[in-house]
């Protein structure tokens, strides 16, 4: 029986020909997982296909398009680029498919973008602008690099050397400093000593996500070296996108496993939850709010650690050696809920779509820059759920989510407060 | 006469007649449909004869009116354009009773009397409409979608695979009987659907206008081991209907119905008119009748859990309903009524609806159960306008499948010479009911044009289907929208 060599390497779309050709069009990538289906409202979890109803915009459509790309059947066009890039790569499709099957949907979608960049068709102009900004000023926004630490206030204690390195990220540094401040205050209050990167640069999430692998790899190497040079044992982030990038995609870019990074990658909610359990973090100030929590994709569906793989595929598509697939089981669901439960006076309601069934805010991985309409649509769609459960405050764990939801709330004229979980915890210190 | 002679070549001399007395027998029935007389009557003995007859009539453009029973209520077997009446009562074999798969195959002429007796010998039964006459065709009653008194089975329809003869075709088997060589096949006739299309739907409710169904498989059931019949006097029908909405979806009971005093009196009375007068005057306005049963295994346990459930519901939610195993003031009602519900009405007794004044007309339709009181108001208002006493209307409420819907039936009793008045009442009541949303799914006689005017799109599509199966419109013309 002839075998095919393949690897989970997104630099070659061919590696995913089997996966794309075995998509059964069940749309498990599109619907909320049926066990958890909440009813006729809020029945989907694919932002791209909920925004645009043509099949091409769901993963099941993209699998067919990916095959056509391999077969040379399609010419690059604005429409084809839109199909590939109007997508926050939130992982709902990958996890949905892997409930029952062994197909690598998420990696196929990443590989399609890599191919677009390789062939000079992609990324979108807005992404190229981001790349320029990063090249010039080491942040997404093109803001002055020297202002990166301006979020710091005098009352925040930063250690010269510590086990924990807080990687703040571009968003919290420049557009959502309240998140960084709140997180820092919480860490201080919990006696968690932490340091910052001496010279923090963008993590490269957008570059990687839109297929600019070479640029992203350079940043990855540089950032990892910089962390190692500090002697940090743990890199902690308040940004779910950054968390995913460091934990999953840095190893992917360097063809190593997460375990081989040389340090742990954690999200703020993990550090805070641990402190809460140990008793070093105490939340005493009451907040009488009815709140809902949005599970940001980077710390839910997309959080499984990375292990490189290459092997061969043979009879009936079986692979050798055995491959333990990433099925989205490592989501940080308990930690934020523990933290919220510890806030005196707070009343927590789950939304109809929760945990791995959450509906992405639509901002991440290059989407908001190139497709602001999709990002706005997704956020507004998610806000319907917030209204449905009567929540006054929406909490998330990523500045991208916060920013996108905040804009949508303003546009809607909703009476909903949007906060990051760091702010929520900080307000109860 | 050419018709008779030609048909005689198919069925034999003794099995066709153009004698006036024979033809007159089919010219009227219990309905108000005006009389019509066939040109001849044929009595075929098998499907091949039926097929030959239809081929012949189709070639000569002769209308065909199929008849399977000896007693008719709705006028659909009265020839409207002359032609050949095909009487299938000789085709009355129970061809097979398969108790393992719980199916029987019966010819069109098999009657309720015949079938229930045969099944009883094996400890079996069929679900039944309310008191069908013993000499009516079982197959026809189910084809025409009579509503069963049994509400507990989710699978409602008793009909399975069948054979039909379309004009100008060989006998055609529907459903799993379509297998070549049936019944000498692995297929046992249990599936009515297919092949290709659901032909069985097209002949249901068709009043013989599509083709002639010569035999059919039907579902049969085992007799329960224990039966208990329960009664509740009811003054507020809505209250009783709410109770049924509560208990029937919980799969309580076998037979279940609500009858008003007039109908129940007519059913129970033995000595006429004394029994009837007394009963009609003293029975409660409505009586809810519910049969609960224990089956083969642990029958007492089944009765026990149903009774426990009923007791709790009545105590906690329906205190005003008193459900017991006797009809207060009428000892022996239980012992009398239960067997009646499992047997047809004896052919040698005047039909229960005819015992009072000799004639009756029933207006029945499908409705949402909660609308029953509204429809009753509508009918009473029309009856009053026509001078028909409200206290003399028979009303029968039959829940369907867990009470998701119901059949409501109004019966008007009259002497023959009052027919014209009743005709007017019937028509006006039907119109008024339709205006309020009553769904006449079985439009007999003059109900048909009323219904099909409202269902213009449906009627247009029906005609196109009819064109395929009966392009010359020889099958029972003048009925439905044909």
């Amino acid at each position: 029986m002839p075998t095919t060599q393949f690897s989970l390497d997104i630099k070659k779309l061919d590696n995913f020909a089997y996966d794309m050709s075995r998509c059964i069009k069940c749309k498990g990538c599109y619907w909320v997982e049926h066990t958890y289906m909440p009813g006729v409202r809020f029945s989907t979890r694919c932002p791209s296909n909920t925004w645009n109803d043509f099949d091409a915009y769901g993963a099941f459509g993209k699998m067919r398009i990916g095959l056509a790309m391999i077969e040379g059947k399609l010419k690059w066009s604005p429409k084809l680029l839109e199909i590939i890039y109007a997508d926050p790569l939130c992982g709902a499709c990958d996890v949905g498919c892997k409930r029952n099957l062994d197909l690598e949907i998420g990696l196929s979608l990443e590989a399609m973008r890599v191919k677009a960049v390789q062939e000079g068709a992609g990324p979108m102009p807005a992404h190229k602008k981001v790349a320029e900004n990063i090249a010039k000023t080491h942040n997404q926004f093109g803001a002055p690099h020297e202002n990166r630490k301006k979020w710091l206030t005098a009352d925040i204690k930063i250690a010269e050397k510590a086990d924990v390195l807080y990687f703040v990220g571009c968003s919290a540094s420049y557009v959502a400093p309240e998140i960084a401040r709140s997180a820092a205050k919480v860490l201080n209050a919990a006696n968690i000593s932490f340091m910052l990167m001496p010279d923090e640069w963008c993590c490269g999430n957008t570059l990687f996500s839109v297929g600019m692998l070479d640029e992203a790899r350079e940043l990855a190497k540089r950032n990892i070296e910089a962390v190692k040079a500090t002697g940090a044992k743990t890199v902690m982030l308040t940004c779910a996108e950054g968390y995913r990038m460091w934990k999953v995609d840095y190893p992917k870019l360097l063809n190593i496993s997460t375990a081989e990074l040389g340090f742990n990658v954690v999200h703020f909610v993990e550090a805070a939850d641990e402190a809460l359990k140990k008793g070093t973090l105490r939340l005493s100030k009451p907040q009488n709010v009815r709140l809902a929590y949005h599970d940001s994709c980077g710390i839910s569906r997309l959080a499984d650690p990375w292990t490189p793989y290459s092997g061969e595929r043979g009879w009936m598509g079986t692979v050798n050696p055995r491959l333990k697939r990433r099925r989205g089981t490592s989501g940080l669901y308990a930690q934020p809920r523990n933290l919220i439960a510890a806030i005196p006076g707070a009343s927590f309601v789950e939304m109809p779509r929760t945990r791995e069934n959450s509906f992405c805010c639509g901002a991440g991985r290059g989407t908001k820059e190139a497709f602001p309409d999709l990002a706005s649509f997704s956020a507004k769609h998610r806000l319907e759920e917030v209204r449905e459960v009567g929540a006054e405050t929406l909490v998330s764990a990523c500045p991208w989510c916060k920013n996108n939801f905040s804009q949508a709330v303003r546009q809607n004229g909703d009476n909903i407060k949007v906060v990051d979980i760091a702010e929520l915890i900080s307000a109860s210190l | 006469m050419a018709l008779k002679d030609d048909v005689a070549k198919i069925v034999g001399e003794g099995n066709v007649s153009d004698a006036k007395k024979d033809r007159l027998m089919y010219s009227r029935d219990y309905s108000l449909v005006p009389p019509g007389i066939p040109d001849a009557v044929a009595y075929p003995s098998d499907s091949l004869q039926v097929s030959a007859i239809l081929k012949y009539c189709n070639s000569k453009n002769i209308p065909v009116v199929p008849v399977s029973s000896s007693r008719h209520f709705y006028g659909s077997t009265i020839p409207k354009q002359g032609g050949l009446l095909v009487d299938l009562t000789r085709m009355n074999k129970i061809q097979e009773i398969n108790d393992a798969d719980r199916t029987a195959r019966i010819e069109a002429g098999v009657t309720w009397g015949q079938l229930t007796a045969e099944l009883e010998k094996k400890g079996m039964r069929m679900i039944m409409p309310l008191l069908p006459p013993a000499d009516r065709s079982v197959l026809t009653d189910w084809l025409e979608r009579e509503v069963p008194t049994n509400t507990v089975y989710d699978y409602g329809e008793p009909m399975q695979a069948m054979e039909v003869v379309w004009p100008a075709s060989e006998p055609f088997r529907i459903g799993s009987a379509s297998v070549n060589g049936f019944p000498d096949s692995k297929s046992r006739g249990g599936n009515p659907s297919g092949p290709g299309l659901d032909f069985y739907r097209l002949v249901q409710g068709a009043q013989g206008t599509m083709g002639i169904v010569t035999w059919s498989h039907i579902k049969i059931e085992w007799m329960p081991k224990i039966d208990k019949i329960l009664f509740a006097p009811v003054s507020d029908l809505s209250y009783a209907i709410e109770f049924l909405h509560r208990i029937l979806p919980r799969r309580i009971g076998q037979e279940c119905m609500v009858l008003n005093n007039v109908d129940l009196a007519a059913i129970l009375a033995e000595k006429w008119p004394d029994d009837f007068d007394r009963l009609a005057a003293t029975l409660p306005a409505w009586t809810l009748i519910l049969v609960i049963s224990g089956l083969f295994r642990r029958p007492e346990e089944k009765i026990a859990y149903e009774e426990k459930f009923l007791k709790e519901v009545l105590r906690n939610e329906f205190r005003d309903l008193v459900l017991t195993d006797a009809l207060p003031g009428f000892p022996g009602a239980a012992r009398k009524l239960l067997p009646m519900l499992r047997k047809p009405w004896p052919a040698d007794k005047p039909y229960w609806k005819h015992q009072w004044r000799g004639s009756s007309q029933s207006l029945f339709f499908i409705a949402r159960p909660a609308s029953a009181p509204l429809f009753i108001d509508v009918v009473e208002e029309v009856a009053a306008r026509h001078g028909y006493p409200i206290s003399e209307i028979g009303v029968y409420f039959q829940p369907i499948e867990h009470n998701r819907a119901c059949q409501l039936e109004f019966t008007f009793f009259y002497h023959e010479d009052e027919a014209a008045v009743i005709a007017g009442l019937y028509r006006d009541a039907a119109q008024a009911l339709m205006n309020e949303g009553a769904f006449f799914s079985r439009p007999y006689g003059e109900l048909a044009p009323m219904v099909y005017e409202r269902a213009a799109g449906y009627s247009a599509a029906l005609k196109r289907v009819k064109k395929v199966f009966d392009p010359k419109n020889i099958m029972n013309p003048g009925n439905l929208c044909f």
Partner: protein, 537 residues
């Protein structure tokens, strides 16, 4: 590949520019296969095409207008709800319009009268959830929760829960059908008013045009709205648990319970079904193919083969399970009664209950149906029959024999006779055969096996789902009815004289056999010189 400019403009004015496309990339997204139900086979390779144009209507009225435009400008079209049914639900000719019905997703529920009204875009799991919130349930067909409710009810539509109701046909109430020429037929109580609560008539029942035993694949029009029966359930809602991929519904302990029984032999398995049906208990009774157990246990495809590879004909022959779902519809006492009766029956048959998980993954919300494709990548239910239980038992044996001849390329199943169970409390029996293969191998054997199964059914006088558009009409037609195909074709000609609705269905499989070289060797039935339909390419 395109439809005429005039047609495109007319269609655009109906749905608006946002909901029509002829972009090649977008149309490519509607490709049939190469993975999916019945995909990776000859039929899909030969008969399916990428649409030239796709529209997304929102209402019945828009659908009607679209169909009329298609008739006006001779544009072939195919109705498409989810596309999950495989090649038969995709475009079959060049320059075809695909009418994507997903936006027809209105939903209403009438709790008291136990029905829901759905558009073609509504799938099963939301309907099930809405029903269960209100103490009711629906039967989700084996295709899974992702199937369109309407498409499933006019196509297939059965599951172990059919133990109580059987035919999905009678779950259909008031319905709207847009005929192939664009006329609208409303059936049941909808024929005379706005209320869809009842499905029969008036008079003869035109629901007969919606399907046969299995569906017509949309070649006789487009159903845009349907009222669907909901069935009374028990009051404690099963709750979802777990994180993907290990999600399940936790069953309320005193009102729902699956029990697996191991029985000594096949005869006992069959007897169990007869007896349970006769006793009129249980919500579901089934024997499922043993490889489903391996799928349920396996975390990945390789683990499946570890498990399945250990089986052989002997182990299969000697391992018989009857799976029963008890539902306390009436009360806890009723469930206890059902369980007592069930244990009486199983004890008589020499069987004991086995430890069974108090949860459901497969048949209430049907979340794991996609697992059918785990093992090999390709799958189809090649034949599935509702007849009597007696028929189901015999069919399995004949079929298993034929299947051996075609293994490989079919996945080895060691003679497992498939899925069978009682329907309609024993008035019917169900048997289904699932086959699996790898589409990268030579699948000629699978194409042949399909047709050979039809022939086996004919020879052995079995009823079958391989009728209508599923297999060559000229093969099965003369042998069932007889000549049901002539009636089907006459009805098709009456309602779709241009054959503009999903051509060349119902003759699609006949056309496939003519076009595919490798099918010539098994074609031993007569066909007319020219198929009686207008020519589409």
């Amino acid at each position: 590949m395109a439809i005429s400019k005039k047609a495109y403009n007319a269609l655009e004015s109906i749905v608006g520019a946002k909901y029509i496309t002829d972009d090649p990339a977008v149309c490519e997204g509607y490709r049939s296969g190469p993975g999916g139900y019945e995909s990776g086979l000859g039929y899909e390779r030969v008969m399916t095409k990428i649409p030239a144009c796709v529209v997304l209507p929102r209402t019945t009225e828009e659908v009607q207008r679209i169909v009329k435009v298609c008739n006006r400008y001779s544009v072939p079209y195919v109705p498409y709800s989810t596309g999950f049914y495989g090649p038969r639900s995709h475009c079959h000719v060049e320059n075809e319009l695909l009418v994507d019905l997903k936006r027809l997703n209105d939903f209403e529920i009438d709790e008291k009268h136990m029905y829901a009204v759905v558009g073609s875009g509504v799938i099963y799991s939301p309907l099930q959830e809405e029903a269960m919130k209100r103490g009711m349930y629906v039967i989700i067909g084996g295709g899974g929760a992702q199937a369109s409710v309407i498409a499933n009810l006019i196509g297939d539509g059965w599951s172990p829960l059919s133990h109580r109701i059987g035919l999905p046909h009678r779950r259909i109430l008031g319905t709207e059908l847009v005929l192939p020429d664009g006329e609208l037929v409303k059936m049941g109580s909808l024929a005379v008013g706005e209320d869809p609560f009842w499905g029969d008539g008036p008079g003869p029942d035109l629901r007969g045009l919606l399907r046969g035993f299995t569906g017509l694949r949309g070649c006789l029009g487009i159903v845009t709205k349907m009222a669907v029966k909901l069935l009374p359930f028990q009051p404690e809602k099963p709750m979802p648990t777990g994180i993907a991929p290990n999600t399940a519904l936790a069953l309320p302990e005193h009102r729902m319970k699956w029990i697996n029984y191991q029985v000594p032999n096949k005869a006992a398995q069959v007897k169990a079904m007869f007896e349970i049906s006769k006793a009129e208990i249980a919500g579901a009774v089934t024997k499922v193919p043993l490889f489903w157990r391996a799928i349920a246990k396996a975390e990945c495809k390789e683990e499946f083969w570890d498990l399945w590879g250990k089986e052989n004909e002997e182990t299969i022959k000697n391992f018989h399970i009857v799976r029963v779902l008890l539902i306390g519809f009436t009360s806890e006492e009723q469930m206890k009664y059902d369980e007592n009766v069930l244990n009486d029956i199983m004890a008589e048959l020499g069987s004991q209950p086995r430890a069974t998980k108090p949860s459901d993954e497969s048949w209430i919300k049907n979340a794991d149906s996609a697992g059918m494709w785990l093992m090999c990548g390709s799958y189809v239910s090649v034949d599935y029959i509702i007849e009597t239980l007696s028929h189901a038992v015999q069919h399995g044996e004949a079929y298993a024999d034929l299947k051996k001849k075609y293994t490989p390329p079919l996945m080895p199943d060691y003679g497992d006779p498939g899925w069978f169970q009682s329907f309609e409390l024993g008035h019917q029996g169900y048997s289904e055969f699932l086959v699996y293969w790898d589409q990268d191998e030579d699948t000629t054997g699978v194409d042949h096996f399909y047709v050979e199964t039809s022939k086996m059914n004919i020879r052995n006088r079995f009823y079958t789902s391989l009728l209508g558009p599923h297999q060559p009409l000229y093969l099965t037609g003369p042998k069932y009815g007889p000549n049901y195909h002539q009636w089907l074709l006459k009805v098709k000609d009456e309602f779709d004289p241009l054959w503009v609705c999903h051509p060349p269905t119902p003759l699609a499989h006949d056309v496939f056999v003519e076009k595919a070289e490798w099918m010539k060797s098994i074609k031993d039935w007569e066909v007319p010189k020219k198929f009686p339909m207008p020519k589409w390419e």
